[in-house]
Symmetry: C2
């Protein structure tokens, strides 16, 4: 049966108008105030020509105004193509064209990127929050009912092919992610979730959704800062926070010997496997860490370690959330035995229905509702998942996913480069950073390549190391043998 | 998109095997043990011939074995027609025939009713839990995945016509009821729900579902007893309990001056509007009461008063749960103004899709997903619902719904009775009890009528008062004017 539900924010503002909704730099607004701002912004967006079921690119930083913008798009039934604001103008243009976005909504802060996009896509109407504030309000045609199968957001993620794909996230996906999480973490009246992760990632967007669905305060930071984090956990009475290994490490450093307050009950740790020493340090310091595994395609966590197992199963990502399922597929397309590694395959109402305008890829990656993640892991005799490796070639740098093929594509487009290979290199601060192996066609310097990359790639994707070699090792089907590059690399370091 | 989910109990036993699941008379079993018993029972039921999508009548008392039976039917994908064990054999037979039940599952306790059913329905295979314990186990074909649109349970409820109708409750209905409640009441790690209401009512069945979906202990009592209630709130660390006005009153009486422990956080008060003095007494005694409004057709609560409003809006049933919606329809089929009374109309994923084998009635009562409840109420300027009256003729006696038309049908079938009318009369213990007005065809005594009713009606439906009058007041379309009966009644009492 088709499931309809009242618009979440409108319903929340009706149910608990006076509860705190979003807090930013010491200022807190209630759900009633948030809805009023969203309604107002929806009126201005409608007046600017946005229509239901259109795709609109959204390029914003973490700020309450951005939450208002994202929620206004929901209220209008406009599908938000949420852009990573660290991407280069070229990368953004690619996603805007791929999604056939009818508008770009941004802010003055990104003037330079907006101008470059404007030059390349002169037909694409651009709106900024600053200019929207001067637009006359027109009574918006609110989507008072949500169709759970309707597209809510598109977030791009790259695959092994190098071309980013737009992950479709329906309202249902976000809903089930939020309710699946509540059945694991519980919901206390005083809960408050600190969001220092980007709203343009599913990690941040899902906190915004939880805030509205749960009626829970979200404390929003523009970016992660360990001092501000520790301070706000105290002053804003934060009980839950989403972290990745690098940010958790920096919080521990900042805390030195200090403890977090008793009411703080969960560090939700995502973004790749965490090191055991880090987890053990948290246990020693009474910091409740819940390791979790998820991705854009699962609309945030799909596997999380339950309270009672957080210490006993240190290092595990846990078990699937209540509504979801998991299998490990070993070679030969059979279900792996206990402790046998294989590809992690997941299913559930929080799992994407597919990639935007990519029917073939969607069919290949999602079969009978089962998403083939490409990640490698195993389950133990009790069914706990241990993630061994994200997609074999994936680099995770400070919580951002980097796909080697994308960087290789940029490098090999340079006239002086014959071939290129990218692998991750361990890094104290970021966990990993990309390192490039280059085969030259004609002489080229590292600084020329840096300049070339910086025009085409987000900063975090630019290789931090360049190695010039004679040949990129490839197998018979011309696939890069990254393992050999890693071996080469470690032998060099000896 | 069709939503599939792992079988709830199986998933719960996998996620948190060692958490306490059901506690009964001091003995507690874990979710792993519960699943083991359910799996075992499913094997015995399968061996006895039960098949997926069949309907099976279930006649049981409150007991862990009954919970096991109900969950075993879920595991097999058998649709449970859950029978009110207070009904007479004749009433049970009617429901078994109407639902075309392929089996009757019961227990020795109900031997007399079972025998009468056996005489009337000799073709209907009967199973008892006692005899099932001796059946050889056969590996059951588990429904490892739940289809949310599939029928889980049928519960009969009467309407104004007097014929009980089987309310279809899908897995989705139960799921959404449980998650809608959690977004209102929250979910604490130590939560424990006391169930003294019947498992055959949606009030009890929904606690069983919550226990499994939340991973929460349910304390089960065979029947309500105020002393045992107060004792178990202490000894079992109960935090939430479902009550109706009469049981709440008796708990207050039993408590005398004593308070409930601090961790006890919610008396969920359903089953008809509560009196203001009762609510005020609870406020005075620090007993947290959450008034709620719901029915079999909404798979338990659909409107509940949120924590922050429980005192400010004393007497209100609250606002709709997050996923649901409500309208009040005044005369002329228009939405009522604020404070204007009208019919309460509700919508949501917890609302039934219709009545079993009654397409016409279903279409009439449920239009565009909106269920016309027949209940009367209004909303105030903030949107809080105040229920004025359940279906104008409904009698609520100790939490059981009694439909006058059903009793009238039995009475007029008596050869000495020309006409009959039933209204509710206030009662100190039960809230209301049925009172009968009789027009005789030939002389008949009260005791003859009592005997006649007791063979055909559940005990709580048998009129406690008989008044012999000359004519039942009826309007032009021959509908009984119950208001005039009530007036007659109060004038007599002066």
């Amino acid at each position: 049966m088709k499931q309809a539900m009242p618009n979440w924010l409108k319903k929340r503002a009706f149910l608990t108008p006076n509860r705190p909704a979003v807090s930013f730099e010491g200022r807190t607004i209630t759900f009633a105030e948030l809805y009023q701002s969203v309604f107002n912004m929806a009126g201005k967006l409608a007046a600017s020509g946005l229509k239901r079921k259109q795709f609109a690119g959204v390029l914003l930083r973490n700020h309450p105004d951005s939450a208002v913008m994202l929620l206004a798009l929901q209220l209008l039934g406009v599908r938000a193509v949420i852009l990573n604001n660290r991407l280069s103008a070229e990368e953004l243009i690619w996603q805007l064209e791929d999604s056939q976005a009818a508008f770009l909504i941004s802010e003055e802060l990104f003037a330079e990127k907006r101008e470059r996009i404007g030059r390349m896509l002169p037909e694409l109407p651009q709106l900024t929050k600053e200019r929207l504030s001067e637009v006359n309000f027109v009574e918006p045609d609110e989507c008072t009912e949500i169709d759970m199968d309707e597209i809510c957001t598109i977030m791009y993620t790259s695959g092994t092919t190098g071309h980013p794909k737009g992950v479709i996230q329906t309202y249902g996906n976000h809903w089930w992610s939020a309710t699946g999480s509540v059945l694991n973490l519980g919901l206390h009246e005083n809960d408050c979730w600190l969001c220092t992760v980007p709203l343009f990632h599913i990690s941040g967007y899902s906190i915004l959704m939880k805030s509205i669905i749960y009626g829970m305060k979200m404390v929003l930071h523009e970016k992660f800062d360990p001092g501000k984090t520790v301070q706000d956990i105290e002053s804003e009475h934060v009980t839950i926070m989403s972290v990745v290994s690098t940010t958790l490490t920096r919080i521990l450093e900042h805390l030195q010997g200090d403890k977090l307050p008793d009411y703080f009950r969960c560090m939700l740790l995502g973004g790749g496997p965490a090191s055991l020493p880090l987890l053990e340090e948290c246990v020693a310091k009474d910091i409740p860490v819940y390791q979790t595994y998820g991705m854009t395609e699962t609309s945030s966590q799909i596997v999380t370690l339950a309270p009672e197992d957080s210490i006993r199963k240190l290092g595990s990502a846990g078990k699937t959330l209540f509504p979801s399922q998991l299998k490990v597929i070993a070679e030969g397309n059979r279900e792996a035995a206990v402790h046998e590694a294989g590809e992690i395959v997941v299913k559930g109402p929080n799992v994407t229905t597919g990639y935007l305008n990519r029917e073939e890829t969607s069919k290949q990656d999602i079969r009978d509702g089962w998403l083939h993640t490409g990640d490698i892991g195993y389950v133990d005799e009790e069914g706990f998942l241990f993630v061994l490796d994200r997609r074999s070639d994936l680099i995770i740098s400070g919580g951002e996913n980097i796909y080697p093929a994308e960087i290789e594509g940029v490098l090999t487009s340079h006239p002086s480069i014959m071939d290129a290979g990218i692998i991750g290199r361990k890094d104290e601060k970021w966990g990993e950073v990309p390192a490039a192996f280059i085969v030259q066609k004609s002489p080229v310097t590292e600084s020329e390549l840096l300049e070339y990359c910086s025009q085409r790639l987000a900063k975090y994707k630019i290789p931090k190391y360049f190695y010039f070699i004679d040949e990129i090792p490839r197998n018979a089907s011309k696939k890069i043998l990254r393992r050999e590059l890693r071996t080469w690399f470690s032998s060099k370091n000896k």
